[in-house]
Symmetry: C2
Subunit: 338 residues, 2 copies
């Protein structure tokens, strides 16, 4: 039984903090990944020069708003939850696209875009190659998304929420640690729960010690997939990783692609959640939408088992089409499914 | 029998001239069209103010390169044809998206983007609402696409092509008439054939006299759908429109959605082409891709009947997904289909 309950008297369900990114999505063959020395399924940070050269070689693409925590926010809103997003865009065309899309999805987004000389790096974009196996390989040019600062953190907003959700990708911005500290400090002070996703196996490699510290001291709900949790504990055995994570957080949600997910609670419960069957077209956003379902379920007082099934459903919806945000209202899909 | 043959000794199949536009596509209910006083299935020109207000109200969208003649160019390239596009973007992010996508599609595109103060209007965008019946309703903010000038017309390029393809939408730019005259003049001087699409029923309303002149004097191959050809001859009877158009052009291709198309030649031949069955998701680009198939077939020496079937196949491909350019190589689809 899970003893972690959402705090009372909150006006918002979830505040998501993360990188504000527009995805540039194209279909490509595996050979494209080889030619460009990309590791399938991973996220690599790229500089301006590589962004230009990879883009020049990419097939015709579509632009669609993304960003891990932003996708989760859109998913919570699609389930009918009340949710805000905190992230940074520039006052350029892609920034306007990002801001439009997240607001149109029903998410509160009140961070001013960066303007003038500070905005020269532009709104972040992620060049995503979707291979015939539906896997996505991501190349992220961070632009101004890496300019999120403590001043962007509104303690009152976080205090009004049941849970603060933070993406591990934020650690890739050297300046963002202060932001995360400010956000977590505001959450702890207000009794707002803290949820965290490990984001990517290589991201875990880059920040393992800090992630372990954070998980031990600050995180209530942890999200990770198999490769991320194995990377965290430097093991190739999923079961070893599982035994390591138990006890460190109140709730650990470990996703396993088509094998569904496992939810572990601090008091030893282990809940197995099946995946929802679908034909994957593009796996971008699967983990983000699983988190959206789980968090919506948990903040609305459902059991972890039911919340996990909401996560599975949301993940199945988002991998059934191109793009990392839901195309069908998840609240309706859940009503039909449940 | 069609006496119009492609000229010999050309290095390029088709040169397409038109508005360079990025589409902003979203699903919407019919009520959205009513609320915003939009006419389903039509294209309306909008100013900056309306562009901002419609966009603010639109659901989350995707950005994908469009533009009528540009879509046709992408279609010709997808069939394996050699094709160039002439149109104007600004040196902004959407301009870079347009240029990337059309080049990545295999189309030559050598027009310099507008820069500096001249580029303030920005790259054109078309706000497209796709209703549950798969119809598209288009709101076009022309931006710098309306700044195409005679200097952008390369007579040598046109002289190297078998056919010059011009979209009727160009007439909506008061300055573009000189461009069209320059392009047609270059075509006539070189023996390059001239193809023309009426584009949209309301566009025909705006420019009927000029379109009639053009068709009588300059056009070899005409493309129109039912509402456009009826608008041209101010009749509600398709058969009346048909009897009017015969004799004015060497080849008239009249498309009729799910009823396929009719190809009429100057010497009285009437070829009926069936549609290729598919489940429509988004009809944006259907006419553009029909033209791509027809022109590819004709420039490669096929019969008009076969060329028309290539048009039907390309139209079916493009309406089976969101976005107005082919997602599957048309050359391969045609090989499987033929």
């Amino acid at each position: 039984m899970n003893l972690l309950t959402p705090p009372e008297g909150r006006s918002i369900d979830v505040v998501c903090v993360g990188m504000a990114i527009v995805d540039v999505l194209a279909h490509a063959e595996d050979a494209f990944l080889d030619t460009h020395a990309m590791i399938k399924g991973s996220m690599e940070l790229i500089d301006t020069e590589r962004a230009l050269s990879v883009y020049a070689d990419m097939p015709p693409a579509i632009e669609v708003s993304g960003g891990s925590a932003a996708n989760t926010a859109a998913g919570v809103a699609s389930f009918g939850g009340s949710v805000a997003f905190v992230g940074k865009v520039a006052d350029d065309e892609l920034g306007a696209v990002f801001a439009h899309d997240i607001r149109a999805a029903g998410v509160s987004f009140d961070i001013e875009p960066l303007a003038g000389a500070e905005a020269a790096a532009g709104t972040a974009r992620c060049l995503i190659l979707v291979t015939p196996d539906a896997q996505r390989t991501m190349n992220t040019y961070l632009g101004v998304a890496a300019s999120l600062r403590p001043i962007d953190i509104d303690a009152a907003l976080i205090a009004s929420a049941k849970v603060l959700y933070i993406e591990g990708y934020l650690w890739d911005d050297p300046g963002a640690k202060d932001v995360i500290r400010a956000a977590i400090g505001a959450a702890h002070a207000a009794g707002t729960r803290v949820a965290f996703t490990l984001s990517d196996g290589f991201c875990v490699d880059r920040h393992r010690a800090e992630f372990l510290d954070l998980i031990a001291g600050d995180v209530d709900i942890l999200f990770a997939n198999e490769s991320e949790i194995c990377s965290l504990y430097e093991t190739t055995e999923f079961d070893v990783a599982v035994s390591n994570v138990v006890g460190h957080v109140a709730v650990a949600c470990l996703t396993r692609s088509e094998h569904g997910s496992i939810i572990l609670t601090a008091d030893g419960e282990r809940i197995t959640i099946p995946a929802v069957a679908t034909t994957p077209v593009d796996t971008t956003g699967a983990g983000d939408l699983y988190a959206a379902g789980l968090l919506t379920g948990w903040t609305t007082g459902r059991t972890l088992a039911e919340a996990g099934r909401m996560g599975s459903l949301a993940a199945a919806e988002v991998i059934s089409h191109l793009g990392a945000r839901p195309q069908h209202p998840l609240a309706e899909l859940w009503k039909e499914h449940a």
